[in-house]
Protein backbone atom coordinates (compact mmCIF):
# COMPACT_ATOMS: atom_id res chain seq x y z
CA UNK A 1 0.00 0.00 0.00
CA UNK A 2 1.24 3.42 -0.91
CA UNK A 3 0.78 6.31 1.50
CA UNK A 4 -2.23 8.31 0.42
CA UNK A 5 -2.14 12.09 0.47
CA UNK A 6 -4.39 13.39 3.25
CA UNK A 7 -8.09 13.31 2.52
CA UNK A 8 -9.46 16.84 2.24
CA UNK A 9 -12.93 17.33 3.67
CA UNK A 10 -15.33 20.22 3.05
CA UNK A 11 -17.99 20.73 5.74
CA UNK A 12 -21.31 22.16 4.57
CA UNK A 13 -24.03 22.86 7.15
CA UNK A 14 -26.15 25.92 7.88
CA UNK A 15 -26.00 25.41 11.65
CA UNK A 16 -22.80 26.47 13.39
CA UNK A 17 -23.04 23.89 16.22
CA UNK A 18 -23.41 21.12 13.67
CA UNK A 19 -20.25 22.29 11.86
CA UNK A 20 -18.39 22.46 15.20
CA UNK A 21 -19.41 18.94 15.99
CA UNK A 22 -18.19 17.62 12.63
CA UNK A 23 -14.93 19.51 13.07
CA UNK A 24 -14.39 17.89 16.48
CA UNK A 25 -15.10 14.47 15.06
CA UNK A 26 -12.79 15.02 12.09
CA UNK A 27 -10.03 15.96 14.53
CA UNK A 28 -10.61 12.61 16.22
CA UNK A 29 -10.51 10.78 12.89
CA UNK A 30 -7.30 12.61 11.96
CA UNK A 31 -5.54 10.73 14.75
CA UNK A 32 -5.99 7.52 12.79
CA UNK A 33 -5.98 8.58 9.14
CA UNK A 34 -4.39 11.39 7.14
CA UNK A 35 -7.06 14.05 7.04
CA UNK A 36 -7.37 17.77 6.45
CA UNK A 37 -10.27 20.17 6.63
CA UNK A 38 -10.56 21.82 3.22
CA UNK A 39 -13.04 24.39 4.41
CA UNK A 40 -16.45 25.10 5.92
CA UNK A 41 -19.49 26.57 4.23
CA UNK A 42 -22.79 27.59 5.72
CA UNK A 43 -24.83 27.25 2.56
CA UNK A 44 -24.80 25.52 -0.77
CA UNK A 45 -23.91 28.55 -2.80
CA UNK A 46 -20.72 29.32 -0.88
CA UNK A 47 -19.79 25.64 -0.88
CA UNK A 48 -20.00 25.59 -4.68
CA UNK A 49 -18.01 28.82 -4.85
CA UNK A 50 -15.18 27.22 -2.84
CA UNK A 51 -14.74 24.42 -5.35
CA UNK A 52 -12.56 23.35 -6.97
CA UNK A 53 -9.95 25.72 -5.38
CA UNK A 54 -10.26 24.26 -1.88
CA UNK A 55 -9.36 20.89 -3.36
CA UNK A 56 -11.90 18.88 -1.40
CA UNK A 57 -11.90 15.15 -2.00
CA UNK A 58 -15.10 14.69 -0.06
CA UNK A 59 -17.99 16.95 0.93
CA UNK A 60 -19.97 16.36 4.11
CA UNK A 61 -23.23 17.85 2.94
CA UNK A 62 -26.23 18.69 5.12
CA UNK A 63 -29.51 18.04 3.33
CA UNK A 64 -31.87 20.58 4.87
CA UNK A 65 -30.40 24.02 4.31
CA UNK A 66 -32.02 27.35 3.46
CA UNK A 67 -32.39 28.39 -0.16
CA UNK A 68 -30.54 25.51 -1.80
CA UNK A 69 -30.77 22.11 -0.16
CA UNK A 70 -28.01 19.52 -0.09
CA UNK A 71 -29.57 17.33 -2.76
CA UNK A 72 -29.46 20.23 -5.19
CA UNK A 73 -25.89 21.18 -4.22
CA UNK A 74 -24.85 17.60 -4.98
CA UNK A 75 -26.38 17.85 -8.46
CA UNK A 76 -24.47 21.04 -9.25
CA UNK A 77 -21.27 19.48 -7.91
CA UNK A 78 -21.46 16.85 -10.63
CA UNK A 79 -20.72 19.59 -13.19
CA UNK A 80 -17.15 19.81 -11.93
CA UNK A 81 -14.47 18.11 -13.99
CA UNK A 82 -13.55 15.99 -11.01
CA UNK A 83 -16.47 16.10 -8.63
CA UNK A 84 -15.63 15.31 -5.00
CA UNK A 85 -17.31 12.40 -3.25
CA UNK A 86 -20.44 13.36 -1.32
CA UNK A 87 -21.54 12.10 2.07
CA UNK A 88 -24.93 13.47 3.02
CA UNK A 89 -25.70 14.33 6.62
CA UNK A 90 -29.22 14.66 7.95
CA UNK A 91 -31.04 14.70 11.26
CA UNK A 92 -34.23 13.20 9.97
CA UNK A 93 -35.66 12.79 6.55
CA UNK A 94 -37.67 9.62 6.15
CA UNK A 95 -38.07 9.95 2.40
CA UNK A 96 -34.42 10.64 1.59
CA UNK A 97 -33.12 7.89 3.86
CA UNK A 98 -35.22 5.25 2.17
CA UNK A 99 -33.99 6.43 -1.23
CA UNK A 100 -30.37 6.51 -0.04
CA UNK A 101 -30.62 2.89 0.98
CA UNK A 102 -32.10 1.93 -2.37
CA UNK A 103 -29.37 3.65 -4.35
CA UNK A 104 -26.50 2.95 -1.96
CA UNK A 105 -25.86 6.67 -1.48
CA UNK A 106 -23.56 7.41 1.43
CA UNK A 107 -25.16 9.27 4.34
CA UNK A 108 -24.64 9.93 8.03
CA UNK A 109 -27.38 10.43 10.57
CA UNK A 110 -27.06 13.34 12.98
CA UNK A 111 -25.95 13.18 15.68
CA UNK A 112 -23.02 11.68 13.80
CA UNK A 113 -21.13 8.82 15.42
CA UNK A 114 -17.35 8.90 15.29
CA UNK A 115 -17.21 5.27 14.17
CA UNK A 116 -19.64 5.80 11.29
CA UNK A 117 -17.82 8.91 10.12
CA UNK A 118 -14.47 7.14 10.21
CA UNK A 119 -15.86 4.21 8.26
CA UNK A 120 -17.47 6.45 5.64
CA UNK A 121 -14.27 8.45 5.17
CA UNK A 122 -12.08 5.39 4.86
CA UNK A 123 -14.24 3.98 2.07
CA UNK A 124 -14.70 7.23 0.28
CA UNK A 125 -11.90 6.74 -2.26
CA UNK A 126 -13.26 3.41 -3.40
CA UNK A 127 -16.93 4.28 -3.40
CA UNK A 128 -18.76 4.55 -6.74
CA UNK A 129 -19.44 8.15 -7.69
CA UNK A 130 -22.92 9.59 -7.36
CA UNK A 131 -25.05 9.28 -10.43
CA UNK A 132 -26.85 12.36 -11.66
CA UNK A 133 -30.04 10.51 -12.53
CA UNK A 134 -30.19 9.10 -8.99
CA UNK A 135 -29.76 12.57 -7.54
CA UNK A 136 -32.49 13.91 -9.80
CA UNK A 137 -34.78 11.20 -8.58
CA UNK A 138 -33.94 11.92 -4.94
CA UNK A 139 -34.81 15.56 -5.20
CA UNK A 140 -38.54 15.92 -5.50
CA UNK A 141 -38.85 19.69 -5.50
CA UNK A 142 -37.70 21.85 -8.38
CA UNK A 143 -34.14 23.15 -8.26
CA UNK A 144 -33.59 26.81 -7.42
CA UNK A 145 -30.69 27.08 -9.89
CA UNK A 146 -29.42 25.52 -13.07
CA UNK A 147 -25.66 25.18 -13.40
CA UNK A 148 -22.94 25.06 -16.03
CA UNK A 149 -19.24 24.37 -15.86
CA UNK A 150 -17.32 27.47 -16.87
CA UNK A 151 -13.55 27.08 -17.07
CA UNK A 152 -13.64 24.42 -14.39
CA UNK A 153 -15.91 26.32 -12.01
CA UNK A 154 -19.60 25.91 -11.39
CA UNK A 155 -21.67 28.82 -12.56
CA UNK A 156 -25.14 28.99 -11.03
CA UNK A 157 -28.10 30.41 -12.95
CA UNK A 158 -31.04 31.33 -10.71
CA UNK A 159 -34.17 29.81 -12.20
CA UNK A 160 -36.01 33.05 -11.43
CA UNK A 161 -33.67 34.93 -13.80
CA UNK A 162 -34.27 32.66 -16.78
CA UNK A 163 -36.29 34.25 -19.60
CA UNK A 164 -36.53 31.25 -21.89
CA UNK A 165 -35.22 27.76 -22.56
CA UNK A 166 -34.76 26.66 -26.13
CA UNK A 167 -33.90 23.18 -27.34
CA UNK A 168 -31.19 22.96 -29.99
CA UNK A 169 -29.89 19.58 -31.11
CA UNK A 170 -28.53 17.91 -27.97
CA UNK A 171 -28.34 21.10 -25.89
CA UNK A 172 -30.78 23.48 -24.31
CA UNK A 173 -30.03 27.19 -24.53
CA UNK A 174 -30.73 28.97 -21.26
CA UNK A 175 -31.25 32.69 -21.68
CA UNK A 176 -31.24 35.28 -18.89
CA UNK A 177 -31.49 39.04 -19.37
CA UNK A 178 -27.68 39.23 -19.50
CA UNK A 179 -26.35 36.09 -21.11
CA UNK A 180 -26.99 32.70 -22.51
CA UNK A 181 -25.73 29.28 -21.49
CA UNK A 182 -25.82 25.80 -22.92
CA UNK A 183 -26.90 22.93 -20.71
CA UNK A 184 -27.21 19.24 -21.41
CA UNK A 185 -30.72 18.54 -20.24
CA UNK A 186 -33.99 17.55 -21.81
CA UNK A 187 -36.53 20.28 -22.43
CA UNK A 188 -39.40 17.96 -21.54
CA UNK A 189 -37.88 17.19 -18.12
CA UNK A 190 -37.19 20.87 -17.49
CA UNK A 191 -40.79 21.66 -18.37
CA UNK A 192 -41.98 19.07 -15.88
CA UNK A 193 -39.62 20.22 -13.13
CA UNK A 194 -40.53 23.90 -13.38
CA UNK A 195 -44.19 23.48 -14.13
CA UNK A 196 -46.00 26.72 -13.49
CA UNK A 197 -43.00 28.95 -14.09
CA UNK A 198 -42.57 28.32 -17.81
CA UNK A 199 -45.05 27.89 -20.59
CA UNK A 200 -44.41 25.99 -23.80
CA UNK A 201 -44.98 28.26 -26.78
CA UNK A 202 -43.49 25.97 -29.35
CA UNK A 203 -42.27 22.39 -29.62
CA UNK A 204 -38.71 23.47 -28.84
CA UNK A 205 -39.24 26.49 -26.60
CA UNK A 206 -40.25 27.20 -22.99
CA UNK A 207 -40.82 30.83 -22.02
CA UNK A 208 -40.94 32.18 -18.45
CA UNK A 209 -44.44 33.50 -17.84
CA UNK A 210 -43.05 36.45 -15.94
CA UNK A 211 -40.86 37.42 -18.89
CA UNK A 212 -43.70 37.65 -21.39
CA UNK A 213 -44.48 41.20 -22.41
CA UNK A 214 -47.30 40.56 -24.88
CA UNK A 215 -48.37 38.65 -27.98
CA UNK A 216 -48.36 40.07 -31.51
CA UNK A 217 -49.77 39.01 -34.84
CA UNK A 218 -47.12 38.37 -37.47
CA UNK A 219 -47.12 37.08 -41.00
CA UNK A 220 -45.05 34.00 -41.71
CA UNK A 221 -43.13 33.09 -44.88
CA UNK A 222 -46.18 31.27 -46.20
CA UNK A 223 -48.17 34.46 -45.92
CA UNK A 224 -50.34 33.05 -43.14
CA UNK A 225 -50.82 35.01 -39.92
CA UNK A 226 -49.70 33.62 -36.58
CA UNK A 227 -48.93 34.81 -33.06
CA UNK A 228 -45.47 35.65 -31.71
CA UNK A 229 -44.36 36.18 -28.11
CA UNK A 230 -42.81 39.53 -27.30
CA UNK A 231 -40.41 39.32 -24.35
CA UNK A 232 -39.53 41.88 -21.71
CA UNK A 233 -35.92 43.14 -22.04
CA UNK A 234 -35.14 40.72 -24.86
CA UNK A 235 -35.44 41.58 -28.53
CA UNK A 236 -35.94 38.01 -29.69
CA UNK A 237 -39.50 36.99 -30.58
CA UNK A 238 -40.84 33.45 -30.68
CA UNK A 239 -43.62 32.12 -32.87
CA UNK A 240 -46.44 30.41 -31.03
CA UNK A 241 -47.15 27.05 -32.61
CA UNK A 242 -50.62 26.20 -33.86
CA UNK A 243 -51.09 23.69 -31.05
CA UNK A 244 -50.24 26.26 -28.38
CA UNK A 245 -52.52 29.05 -29.67
CA UNK A 246 -54.66 28.73 -26.53
CA UNK A 247 -51.97 30.35 -24.37
CA UNK A 248 -52.52 33.63 -26.19
CA UNK A 249 -56.09 33.69 -24.98
CA UNK A 250 -55.09 32.59 -21.47
CA UNK A 251 -52.42 35.25 -21.20
CA UNK A 252 -55.06 37.95 -20.73
CA UNK A 253 -56.27 36.10 -17.63
CA UNK A 254 -52.73 35.58 -16.33
CA UNK A 255 -51.35 32.28 -17.51
Amino acid sequence: MTANPPLRVLIVDDEAPARNRVRDLLADCALQMPLEIAGEAENGRSALAMLPECGADVVLLDIRMPEMDGLEVAQHLQKLDEPPAVIFTTAYDAYALKAFEVHAVDYLLKPIRLGRLFEALSHVRTVTPLRLDVLRELKREARTHLSVNERGRIHLIPVAAIAFLKAELKYVTVRTAEREFLIEESLAKLEQEFLGRFVRVHRNCLVAKEAIESFERATGDDGEGHWVVVMKNIAEKFPVSRRQQHIVREFGKIL
Binding site: D14, E15, A16, P17, A18, N20, R21, D24, E42, N43, R64, P66, E67, A91, Y92, D93, L109, K110, P111, I112, E141, A142
Partner: protein, 336 residues
Protein backbone atom coordinates in the same frame (compact mmCIF):
# COMPACT_ATOMS: atom_id res chain seq x y z
CA UNK B 1 -61.07 23.92 35.05
CA UNK B 2 -60.91 20.53 33.41
CA UNK B 3 -62.53 19.04 30.39
CA UNK B 4 -63.00 15.68 32.03
CA UNK B 5 -66.65 16.55 31.90
CA UNK B 6 -66.59 15.23 28.40
CA UNK B 7 -65.35 11.83 29.44
CA UNK B 8 -67.34 8.77 28.48
CA UNK B 9 -68.96 8.29 31.88
CA UNK B 10 -71.22 11.23 31.12
CA UNK B 11 -71.11 14.57 32.85
CA UNK B 12 -73.03 17.81 32.90
CA UNK B 13 -71.92 20.64 30.66
CA UNK B 14 -70.43 23.81 32.09
CA UNK B 15 -73.44 26.05 32.61
CA UNK B 16 -71.25 29.12 32.85
CA UNK B 17 -69.85 28.64 29.38
CA UNK B 18 -71.41 31.04 26.88
CA UNK B 19 -71.29 28.44 24.12
CA UNK B 20 -73.24 25.96 26.25
CA UNK B 21 -75.80 28.63 27.22
CA UNK B 22 -76.19 29.57 23.59
CA UNK B 23 -76.85 25.96 22.66
CA UNK B 24 -79.51 25.68 25.39
CA UNK B 25 -81.27 28.82 24.24
CA UNK B 26 -81.16 27.80 20.59
CA UNK B 27 -82.47 24.28 21.24
CA UNK B 28 -85.33 25.47 23.48
CA UNK B 29 -86.14 28.14 20.91
CA UNK B 30 -86.22 25.49 18.18
CA UNK B 31 -88.55 23.29 20.19
CA UNK B 32 -90.86 26.25 20.86
CA UNK B 33 -90.96 27.02 17.16
CA UNK B 34 -91.82 23.39 16.35
CA UNK B 35 -94.62 23.39 18.93
CA UNK B 36 -95.96 26.71 17.62
CA UNK B 37 -95.92 25.34 14.07
CA UNK B 38 -97.99 22.36 15.13
CA UNK B 39 -100.58 24.46 16.93
CA UNK B 40 -100.94 27.26 14.44
CA UNK B 41 -103.73 26.97 11.94
CA UNK B 42 -106.62 28.91 10.48
CA UNK B 43 -107.70 30.56 13.70
CA UNK B 44 -104.28 31.59 14.98
CA UNK B 45 -101.13 32.55 13.11
CA UNK B 46 -97.68 31.07 13.77
CA UNK B 47 -96.56 34.38 15.20
CA UNK B 48 -99.38 34.53 17.74
CA UNK B 49 -98.72 30.98 18.87
CA UNK B 50 -94.99 31.65 19.14
CA UNK B 51 -95.55 34.75 21.25
CA UNK B 52 -97.90 32.88 23.58
CA UNK B 53 -95.49 30.00 23.94
CA UNK B 54 -92.53 32.29 24.49
CA UNK B 55 -94.36 34.18 27.22
CA UNK B 56 -94.62 30.82 28.90
CA UNK B 57 -91.27 29.23 28.08
CA UNK B 58 -88.87 32.16 28.19
CA UNK B 59 -89.36 33.10 31.88
CA UNK B 60 -88.77 29.48 32.88
CA UNK B 61 -85.78 29.25 30.57
CA UNK B 62 -84.26 32.45 31.86
CA UNK B 63 -84.77 31.52 35.49
CA UNK B 64 -83.39 28.02 34.85
CA UNK B 65 -80.27 29.29 33.17
CA UNK B 66 -79.58 31.69 36.04
CA UNK B 67 -80.22 28.99 38.63
CA UNK B 68 -77.96 26.50 36.85
CA UNK B 69 -75.17 29.01 36.41
CA UNK B 70 -75.38 29.72 40.13
CA UNK B 71 -75.42 26.02 41.04
CA UNK B 72 -72.80 25.10 38.43
CA UNK B 73 -69.82 24.29 40.62
CA UNK B 74 -71.98 22.48 43.18
CA UNK B 75 -73.56 20.35 40.44
CA UNK B 76 -70.17 19.39 39.07
CA UNK B 77 -69.04 18.06 42.42
CA UNK B 78 -71.87 15.52 42.43
CA UNK B 79 -71.65 12.15 40.73
CA UNK B 80 -73.42 12.07 37.39
CA UNK B 81 -76.69 10.30 38.40
CA UNK B 82 -77.06 12.53 41.49
CA UNK B 83 -76.20 15.58 39.45
CA UNK B 84 -79.00 14.69 37.00
CA UNK B 85 -81.40 14.27 39.93
CA UNK B 86 -80.35 17.58 41.43
CA UNK B 87 -80.64 19.26 38.05
CA UNK B 88 -84.20 17.98 37.54
CA UNK B 89 -85.12 19.04 41.08
CA UNK B 90 -83.78 22.54 40.41
CA UNK B 91 -85.75 22.71 37.18
CA UNK B 92 -89.00 21.64 38.86
CA UNK B 93 -88.46 24.14 41.66
CA UNK B 94 -87.75 26.91 39.19
CA UNK B 95 -90.87 26.03 37.20
CA UNK B 96 -92.98 26.06 40.35
CA UNK B 97 -91.63 29.40 41.47
CA UNK B 98 -92.17 30.95 38.05
CA UNK B 99 -95.68 29.44 37.96
CA UNK B 100 -96.67 30.69 41.39
CA UNK B 101 -95.15 34.15 41.22
CA UNK B 102 -95.20 34.40 37.48
CA UNK B 103 -96.99 36.57 35.07
CA UNK B 104 -100.69 36.65 34.51
CA UNK B 105 -100.11 34.57 31.43
CA UNK B 106 -100.03 31.44 33.54
CA UNK B 107 -103.50 31.86 34.97
CA UNK B 108 -106.03 29.70 33.26
CA UNK B 109 -103.47 27.94 31.10
CA UNK B 110 -103.42 24.48 32.58
CA UNK B 111 -102.31 23.04 35.87
CA UNK B 112 -98.82 23.10 37.39
CA UNK B 113 -98.27 19.38 36.64
CA UNK B 114 -98.41 20.08 32.90
CA UNK B 115 -95.64 22.63 33.28
CA UNK B 116 -93.61 20.17 35.29
CA UNK B 117 -93.96 17.62 32.51
CA UNK B 118 -93.02 20.20 29.87
CA UNK B 119 -89.96 21.24 31.87
CA UNK B 120 -88.89 17.64 32.49
CA UNK B 121 -89.25 16.83 28.79
CA UNK B 122 -87.21 19.80 27.61
CA UNK B 123 -84.57 19.24 30.29
CA UNK B 124 -84.35 15.56 29.36
CA UNK B 125 -83.79 16.38 25.71
CA UNK B 126 -81.04 18.84 26.63
CA UNK B 127 -79.30 16.40 28.97
CA UNK B 128 -79.43 13.76 26.25
CA UNK B 129 -78.01 16.22 23.73
CA UNK B 130 -75.10 17.29 25.92
CA UNK B 131 -74.36 13.70 26.83
CA UNK B 132 -74.20 12.72 23.14
CA UNK B 133 -72.08 15.76 22.35
CA UNK B 134 -69.67 14.88 25.17
CA UNK B 135 -69.36 11.36 23.81
CA UNK B 136 -68.80 12.66 20.30
CA UNK B 137 -66.04 14.95 21.46
CA UNK B 138 -64.18 12.62 23.78
CA UNK B 139 -62.58 10.43 21.08
CA UNK B 140 -61.40 13.69 19.57
CA UNK B 141 -59.82 14.43 22.90
CA UNK B 142 -57.81 11.23 23.06
CA UNK B 143 -56.91 11.72 19.42
CA UNK B 144 -55.72 15.21 20.23
CA UNK B 145 -53.62 13.84 23.07
CA UNK B 146 -52.09 11.26 20.78
CA UNK B 147 -51.26 13.95 18.29
CA UNK B 148 -49.80 16.00 21.08
CA UNK B 149 -47.31 13.20 21.59
CA UNK B 150 -46.64 12.36 17.98
CA UNK B 151 -46.78 15.54 16.00
CA UNK B 152 -45.86 18.13 18.58
CA UNK B 153 -42.14 18.09 18.29
CA UNK B 154 -40.66 17.36 14.93
CA UNK B 155 -38.10 14.55 15.03
CA UNK B 156 -35.97 16.90 13.02
CA UNK B 157 -35.89 19.29 16.01
CA UNK B 158 -35.04 16.57 18.51
CA UNK B 159 -32.06 15.18 16.60
CA UNK B 160 -30.72 18.57 15.60
CA UNK B 161 -30.92 19.71 19.21
CA UNK B 162 -29.10 16.67 20.50
CA UNK B 163 -26.49 17.27 17.83
CA UNK B 164 -26.13 20.86 19.00
CA UNK B 165 -25.71 19.73 22.60
CA UNK B 166 -23.04 17.26 21.54
CA UNK B 167 -21.16 20.08 19.84
CA UNK B 168 -21.18 22.04 23.08
CA UNK B 169 -19.98 19.32 25.42
CA UNK B 170 -16.29 19.79 24.65
CA UNK B 171 -16.23 23.56 24.31
CA UNK B 172 -18.87 24.80 26.71
CA UNK B 173 -20.00 22.07 29.12
CA UNK B 174 -22.05 24.47 31.24
CA UNK B 175 -24.08 25.63 28.30
CA UNK B 176 -24.56 22.00 27.28
CA UNK B 177 -25.95 21.25 30.73
CA UNK B 178 -28.36 24.12 30.50
CA UNK B 179 -29.61 23.09 27.06
CA UNK B 180 -30.19 19.53 28.23
CA UNK B 181 -32.16 20.88 31.18
CA UNK B 182 -34.32 22.96 28.85
CA UNK B 183 -34.78 20.00 26.58
CA UNK B 184 -35.88 17.76 29.40
CA UNK B 185 -38.35 20.37 30.67
CA UNK B 186 -39.80 20.55 27.20
CA UNK B 187 -40.22 16.80 26.97
CA UNK B 188 -41.66 16.58 30.46
CA UNK B 189 -44.50 18.83 29.35
CA UNK B 190 -44.88 16.99 26.05
CA UNK B 191 -45.31 13.68 27.76
CA UNK B 192 -47.57 14.92 30.54
CA UNK B 193 -51.32 14.49 30.56
CA UNK B 194 -52.16 17.78 28.96
CA UNK B 195 -55.88 17.87 29.51
CA UNK B 196 -55.81 20.36 32.37
CA UNK B 197 -55.53 24.06 31.77
CA UNK B 198 -52.34 25.62 33.08
CA UNK B 199 -51.22 29.14 33.90
CA UNK B 200 -50.02 31.31 31.05
CA UNK B 201 -46.76 32.05 32.89
CA UNK B 202 -45.76 28.38 32.63
CA UNK B 203 -46.54 28.30 28.93
CA UNK B 204 -44.43 31.41 28.34
CA UNK B 205 -41.55 29.89 30.29
CA UNK B 206 -41.74 26.75 28.18
CA UNK B 207 -41.80 28.78 24.99
CA UNK B 208 -38.68 30.65 26.10
CA UNK B 209 -36.87 27.41 26.85
CA UNK B 210 -37.82 26.08 23.45
CA UNK B 211 -36.62 29.22 21.71
CA UNK B 212 -33.33 29.21 23.58
CA UNK B 213 -32.62 25.73 22.24
CA UNK B 214 -33.44 26.88 18.71
CA UNK B 215 -31.29 29.95 19.26
CA UNK B 216 -28.33 27.72 19.90
CA UNK B 217 -28.76 26.05 16.52
CA UNK B 218 -29.75 29.02 14.45
CA UNK B 219 -27.71 31.75 16.11
CA UNK B 220 -28.31 35.24 14.78
CA UNK B 221 -30.74 33.96 12.16
CA UNK B 222 -33.38 33.64 14.88
CA UNK B 223 -34.49 36.89 16.49
CA UNK B 224 -37.33 36.96 18.98
CA UNK B 225 -39.35 39.92 20.17
CA UNK B 226 -41.48 39.43 23.25
CA UNK B 227 -44.20 41.89 24.11
CA UNK B 228 -45.67 40.40 27.26
CA UNK B 229 -45.58 43.25 29.76
CA UNK B 230 -49.39 43.29 29.73
CA UNK B 231 -49.79 39.51 29.71
CA UNK B 232 -51.99 38.15 32.52
CA UNK B 233 -49.61 35.52 33.88
CA UNK B 234 -52.39 33.98 35.99
CA UNK B 235 -54.66 33.34 33.01
CA UNK B 236 -55.45 29.68 32.36
CA UNK B 237 -54.74 28.32 28.92
CA UNK B 238 -54.48 24.83 27.43
CA UNK B 239 -50.88 23.60 27.61
CA UNK B 240 -48.80 23.48 24.45
CA UNK B 241 -50.58 26.18 22.52
CA UNK B 242 -47.68 28.58 22.24
CA UNK B 243 -44.78 26.16 21.74
CA UNK B 244 -46.14 24.34 18.65
CA UNK B 245 -46.95 27.67 17.02
CA UNK B 246 -43.41 28.86 17.67
CA UNK B 247 -42.07 25.61 16.29
CA UNK B 248 -44.04 26.26 13.11
CA UNK B 249 -42.72 29.80 13.00
CA UNK B 250 -39.14 28.56 13.23
CA UNK B 251 -39.63 25.72 10.76
CA UNK B 252 -41.47 27.71 8.09
CA UNK B 253 -40.28 31.23 8.83
CA UNK B 254 -36.66 31.09 9.98
CA UNK B 255 -35.05 27.84 8.82
CA UNK B 256 -35.68 28.32 5.08
CA UNK B 257 -33.92 31.71 5.13
CA UNK B 258 -30.23 32.55 5.26
CA UNK B 259 -30.83 36.08 6.46
CA UNK B 260 -32.03 36.81 10.01
CA UNK B 261 -35.77 36.79 10.69
CA UNK B 262 -37.86 38.07 13.57
CA UNK B 263 -40.53 36.10 15.39
CA UNK B 264 -42.69 38.42 17.46
CA UNK B 265 -44.98 37.34 20.26
CA UNK B 266 -47.51 39.68 21.80
CA UNK B 267 -49.76 38.63 24.66
CA UNK B 268 -52.17 40.97 26.40
CA UNK B 269 -55.46 41.04 28.23
CA UNK B 270 -58.43 43.00 26.95
CA UNK B 271 -61.20 42.94 29.54
CA UNK B 272 -62.38 39.32 29.65
CA UNK B 273 -60.21 38.12 26.81
CA UNK B 274 -56.60 37.04 26.51
CA UNK B 275 -55.07 37.79 23.12
CA UNK B 276 -52.03 35.90 21.86
CA UNK B 277 -50.51 37.17 18.62
CA UNK B 278 -47.61 35.61 16.76
CA UNK B 279 -45.91 36.90 13.65
CA UNK B 280 -43.12 35.39 11.58
CA UNK B 281 -41.58 36.03 8.18
CA UNK B 282 -42.95 33.74 5.55
CA UNK B 283 -42.29 33.10 1.92
CA UNK B 284 -44.78 31.06 0.00
CA UNK B 285 -42.50 29.56 -2.59
CA UNK B 286 -42.19 25.81 -2.53
CA UNK B 287 -42.63 25.18 1.16
CA UNK B 288 -44.26 22.34 2.91
CA UNK B 289 -47.47 23.06 4.73
CA UNK B 290 -48.62 19.71 6.06
CA UNK B 291 -47.24 19.89 9.59
CA UNK B 292 -48.44 23.41 9.94
CA UNK B 293 -52.05 22.59 9.27
CA UNK B 294 -51.95 19.62 11.60
CA UNK B 295 -50.64 21.68 14.49
CA UNK B 296 -53.22 24.39 13.87
CA UNK B 297 -56.08 21.91 13.62
CA UNK B 298 -54.92 20.31 16.84
CA UNK B 299 -54.83 23.61 18.70
CA UNK B 300 -58.17 24.71 17.28
CA UNK B 301 -59.75 21.48 18.44
CA UNK B 302 -58.34 21.73 21.93
CA UNK B 303 -59.46 25.34 22.26
CA UNK B 304 -62.97 24.25 21.24
CA UNK B 305 -62.94 21.44 23.79
CA UNK B 306 -61.95 23.80 26.57
CA UNK B 307 -63.78 26.98 25.72
CA UNK B 308 -66.36 26.07 23.07
CA UNK B 309 -67.36 29.15 21.10
CA UNK B 310 -65.61 31.55 23.45
CA UNK B 311 -62.15 30.95 22.01
CA UNK B 312 -60.95 31.53 18.48
CA UNK B 313 -57.82 31.14 16.41
CA UNK B 314 -57.23 32.99 13.17
CA UNK B 315 -54.34 32.97 10.76
CA UNK B 316 -53.54 35.57 8.16
CA UNK B 317 -50.93 35.60 5.45
CA UNK B 318 -49.81 38.97 4.23
CA UNK B 319 -46.93 39.87 1.98
CA UNK B 320 -43.93 38.19 3.51
CA UNK B 321 -45.42 37.48 6.92
CA UNK B 322 -47.63 34.96 8.64
CA UNK B 323 -49.75 35.84 11.66
CA UNK B 324 -51.67 33.78 14.18
CA UNK B 325 -54.15 35.43 16.51
CA UNK B 326 -55.68 33.47 19.39
CA UNK B 327 -58.41 34.79 21.64
CA UNK B 328 -59.37 32.89 24.76
CA UNK B 329 -61.63 33.87 27.66
CA UNK B 330 -59.72 35.15 30.66
CA UNK B 331 -59.97 32.71 33.53
CA UNK B 332 -57.80 33.06 36.56
CA UNK B 333 -55.78 30.26 38.07
CA UNK B 334 -57.06 29.41 41.50
CA UNK B 335 -54.56 30.53 44.12
CA UNK B 336 -53.44 27.44 45.95
Amino acid sequence: MSINQNANTGALPDFRNLGILLRIVVIVGGMSLAAALLRSGESRSLMEELIDLSALVQPILLASVLALAAANSWLHRLRYPYAIGALLAIELAVTSVVYLFGLGAFRGMGVLVNYWLLTLFVTGVLIGYFDLRGRALSPALSEARLQALQARIRPHFLFNSINAVLSLIRQDPRRAEQVLEDLSDLFRVLMADNRQLGPLAGEIELAKQYLSIEQLRLGARLQVEWDIAAAPSDALIPPLVLQPLLENAVYHGIEPRSEPGVISIRIHRDRDEVHIQLCNPYRQEGERHGGNRMALANIRERLALHFDAEASIRTTETAGSYRVHIVIPYRKARVQ
